[in-house]
Amino acid sequence: MTTQELPFPGLAGVPTKDEPQNRKEYTADQEVRWCPGCGDYAILAAVQGFLPDLGLRRENIVFISGIGCSSRFPYYLDTYGMHSIHGRAPAIATGIATAREDLSVWVVTGDGDALSIGGNHLIHAMRRNVNMTILLFNNRIYGLTKGQYSPTSEPGKITKSTPVGSVDHPFNPVSLALGAEASFVARTIDSDRKHLTAVLSAAAAHRGTSLVEIYQNCPIFNDGAFDAVKENDTKADAIIPLEHGEPIRFGVLGEDGLGTKGIARSASGGVEVVAGDDPNVLVHDAHNPDPTIAFALSRLTDAGVLHQAPIGIFRSVVRPTYDDGARQQVATATAGQEDQAAALAGLINGKDTWTVL
């Protein structure tokens, strides 16, 4: 996992606090109201745990959410926040991030909020590379409306709205993000606190839009959707770990202490599973400006019932951000301009005037 020193580029304009902070300061006084066993609890705990370590001034952190179970998230953090409307959080966050360089802006969204109703805003935020971190809680189901299939549900899914099985083809959120030219794309798992924290820290450190897909279990409407990547007897074969600079190896450990399976380029131009000791096993390069391999890796994720998925940072590249560019234009235009009233008078008078005495 990439580690970066403070101040992170992504948070360069955000004021820091010298005194240590703790979880309690970041915990709001509102009672948390998710279902017992919901994966959201683990994510909240991880965020409340690592935010103080970022060393930012708490008043300069803003969490924006849309609608859905996960979107209650801001109420439970004692920062600034807005629980907005369905799908629009990236748009609202774009305004905040562009208006204020000194804020650390976070978006909390779900698979329905981000990929169904809010798909347009999501792709355009990533295209523009607005400086924000998007936590996409993917439970592959609609929870708040009580169990309809979502745009990430597997084909054939039996739900209340698809009693004989869904005929919808799902999105792969990582593929979508890479297609939208996101500069930081990662995937992690709600129950792996350590990995979750590391990925979120790297996402916050990144300047531009960071999209983090979090596999999140819904114990009520889609329990066990991610068991393959969580259960001890299956996860070695299910998780394809992506570590920048490391060979992509997975499966049960071999004699060299690494997985007995590996990922290599395939003849078709994509990637494929090969033996772990195959000399062609790819060394993961998250900083590769060409997104082709990252995209190919994203396709290793099962579209149906999940048995295999790459986990980690697919892509982390530097490219100009919309908000920095927009602010720079304004800063250039306003530099040295002081007398607003005189300038306004000049503007409204224009060039062609006449005077009546």
């Binding site: 709001a28 509102q30 001034r57 008043e59 300069n60 952190i61 803003v62 924006i64 959410s65 609608i67 801001p74 109420y75 953090l77 920062t79 600034y80 926040g81 807005m82 629980h83 907005s84 409307i85 369905h86 629009r88 748009a91 609202i92 966050a93 774009t94 305004g95 905040i96 562009t98 208006a99 204020r100 000194d102 804020l103 347009n120 805003h121 355009h124 927009a326 602010r327 234009q329 304004v330 250039t332 235009a333 306003t334 301009q337 607003q340 009233a341 005189a342 300038a343 306004l344 008078a345 503007l347 409204i348 008078n349 224009g350 062609d352 005037t353 006449w354 005077t355 009546v356 005495l357």
Partner: protein, 646 residues
């Protein structure tokens, strides 16, 4: 030969041609010349929605009407005195507005068989003679404007096509001579506009001068006209369109409030000019964000408001439909937000380039739940400036989204504007929260200082505005119902009822800050009141003058504020025996007035995409006066298209 100069008090000229003929530019230059000369004026550009409609066809006709006078005028005029038609389609499309005896100047160059057929003419109307012909019914001048232009600019070696394109400047030169317009502004303009292409610049200037000289030397025109400068209130004036005045009003709103302006928007006719204009003024700390759609535009604007900017979104009716949910969020989160709706013909895509006032009820009620939004409307192009500042005052003072309803007629029309002194503009205080506002005592009697985002100002009922970055005031807001005061989520039935009523009461309280209405009733004896809002101010005012000139009494009131209504409106309405509400819709203000005040108003409704015509409205007002006062000399009722509803 010596030419006569005839005095006129006012003239209405309509320049009409193909979309590519440069009629908007021609009209605009004539307007600037008239403004520089000191006439009062009003303009009405009218153009197709298609960028380049098929050449020579009726749908491709673009026109620009300018009304200029030696006295104060209120509208761009009902019917032109002079029509300049650059091709058969322009003649055919505009002839129905010309009264017999008026002047028509036609460029005969394009009256080929092919073009005549395209325009739907069976023969050449310019060649007809006798009863019912153009030559008989009108003061017709048939000139080969294009041919003369090409001849005049041949020294520049342009292609025939490029040379012919200067024909609009030839026409402008001719009309400028005819009405004694000063030429310097146009020559300066052309010099600047085509500075990088000297051939084109010189050809246009030459064509313009050639047109002028043609008027002066030819025997085709024996009379030129003089329209003296208008007597206007002292001040410095400029010509300004509604969209430009609105954009300047938004710039001024930022300066007067000290807030950075953030415009989140998506291009849409006829509001796009405001985006273009504000994009030029980053020097005032203005950020313009062209979003992926209407929803993102207002979303980003609301986000910026949350972060302490003056969030603004600009759109037209279809965009408002898309933004409705976010407007509701702004109502719930009680954040300042300006929503500019430059209305156009609807429903759906409707008539993008035409005007209408049919979004009033959408502005008023177009959201789920009880979702009150203040509404202000400018009454003339120049008034858009003040209306924008007033909308900002309300938004910032009361922490609320505010709807500003302009329309296509205001947006593209122009008038001389008395430029305000910046010192005289109102200051708007954002009054950001900087400290905790509530002492909370727990069961043990221990107290803590907290920030309650929904603890209200007693006078305005506005909530405090604490922006991110303010230590100790961290809080969460959102679309779920808020508990009174603390603002945490509340599903309590009594609280919801209270909050719904409080949000309404907050908007109602804005009325406390409004000045009394101005009633225009010169004789003080009127029994009939004409009530209007928005861009109908000009036609209503002009109609009222006609009625008074005919010896009848009528009162006029025009509303700047549609929600809440001014406090004295109800009492004023009850003073009159009859109230007429002219609107470019099927009676939306009428509905609101009837519902609110139980006054049986008479509607005068026209929804044809065009401004109201003063003469027709005057007739309807006269009818109502005669009916109300029992005068037996009642004239005929309004025409079939203008429905008078009682």
């Amino acid at each position: 030969m010596a030419k006569q100069v005839q005095q006129l008090d006012r003239v209405i000229i309509r320049f009409a041609g193909d979309s590519g003929d440069g009629m908007q530019l021609t009209g605009d230059r004539f307007t600037q010349e008239s403004a520089a000369f000191g006439n009062d004026l009003a303009t009405f550009p009218n153009f197709p929605a298609e960028i380049r409609a098929p050449q020579g066809t009726l749908p491709g006709v673009s026109s620009f009407q300018v009304h200029f006078a030696d006295h104060d005028i209120l509208t761009a005029g009902d019917a032109p005195d002079v029509l300049v038609a650059m091709n058969p389609a322009a003649l055919k499309a505009n002839l129905h507005d010309m009264k017999p005896g008026t002047a028509i100047i036609v460029d005969s160059h394009d009256f080929s068989n092919r073009n005549l057929i395209k325009a739907g003419y069976e023969g050449n109307p310019l060649e007809e003679e006798g009863a019912g012909s153009l030559a008989e019914d009108y003061n017709l001048s048939v000139l080969d404007l294009t041919g003369m232009t090409v001849e005049a600019v041949k020294e520049f070696g342009l292609s025939r096509k490029d040379a012919a394109r200067a024909k609009n400047m030839f026409a402008l030169g001719l009309l400028s001579w005819m009405y004694g317009r000063p030429t310097e502004t146009t020559i300066d303009f052309l010099s600047a506009r085509f500075a990088k292409v000297p051939d084109i610049r010189d050809a246009n200037i030459t064509a313009f001068k050639a047109g002028w000289n043609f008027g002066e030397t030819t025997e085709a025109f024996v009379v030129s006209y003089e329209i003296k400068p208008a007597k206007m209130e002292p001040g410095t004036y400029r010509n300004i369109s509604g969209n430009l005045a609105l954009a300047y009003g938004l710039v001024a709103s930022g300066v007067q409030s000290g807030l950075p302006v953030f415009l989140g928007t998506y291009p849409i006719t006829p509001a796009t000019d405001i985006l273009h204009e504000l994009s030029k003024h980053k020097r005032f700390g203005i950020t313009t964000f062209q979003a992926e759609d209407e929803i993102a535009g207002i979303g980003a604007a609301l986000g910026a408001s949350f972060a302490g900017s003056l969030g603004i979104t600009t759109t037209s009716g279809p965009g408002i439909a898309l933004k409705s949910e976010t407007i509701g969020l702004a109502v719930m989160t009680e954040l300042p937000l300006l929503i500019i709706d430059v209305q156009r013909g609807g429903p759906s895509t409707g008539l993008p380039t035409k005007t209408e006032q049919a979004d009033l009820l959408q502005a008023m009620f177009g959201r789920n739940g009880e979702s009150p939004v203040p509404i202000v409307a400018p009454q003339s192009p120049g008034d858009c400036f003040a209306a924008a500042i007033e909308a900002t005052r309300i938004a910032v003072t009361y922490r609320t989204p505010v709807m500003l309803l302009s329309d296509g007629y205001l947006a593209n029309g122009s008038e001389p504007w008395s430029i305000p002194d910046v010192e005289s503009l109102p200051k708007i205080d954002p009054d950001f929260a900087s400290a905790t506002n509530k002492t909370v005592t727990d069961k043990k009697g221990e107290t803590t200082e907290e920030y309650w985002p929904y603890l209200r100002d007693e006078e305005t009922l506005a909530r405090p505005w604490a922006i991110p970055g303010t230590p100790g005031l961290e809080h969460r807001i959102g679309g779920l119902e808020k508990g009174d005061g603390h603002g945490n989520i509340s599903y309590d039935p009594a609280n919801h009822d209270f909050m719904v009523r409080t949000r309404q009461a907050k908007v109602d309280r804005i009325a406390d800050s409004l000045p009394p209405l101005e009633v225009e009733d010169p004789s003080g004896k009127a029994k009939v009141l004409v009530l209007g809002w928005g861009s109908t101010y000009g036609p209503i005012g002009a109609a009222a003058r006609r009625v008074r000139k005919a010896g009848l009494d009528v009162a006029q009131v025009h509303l700047r504020h549609l929600n809440p209504f001014p406090k004295d409106l109800g009492e004023i309405l009850k003073r009159y025996d009859a109230v007429m509400i002219p609107e470019m819709n099927l009676g939306q203000l009428s509905l609101l007035i009837r519902a609110k005040f139980l006054v049986d108003v008479v509607g005068y409704n026209q929804v044809n995409g065009m401004p109201l015509k003063a003469a027709e409205l005057a007739e309807a007002i006269t009818d109502l006066i005669t009916a109300t006062t029992g005068d037996v000399n009642a004239s005929d009722a309004g025409t079939g298209t203008k429905e008078t509803v009682k």
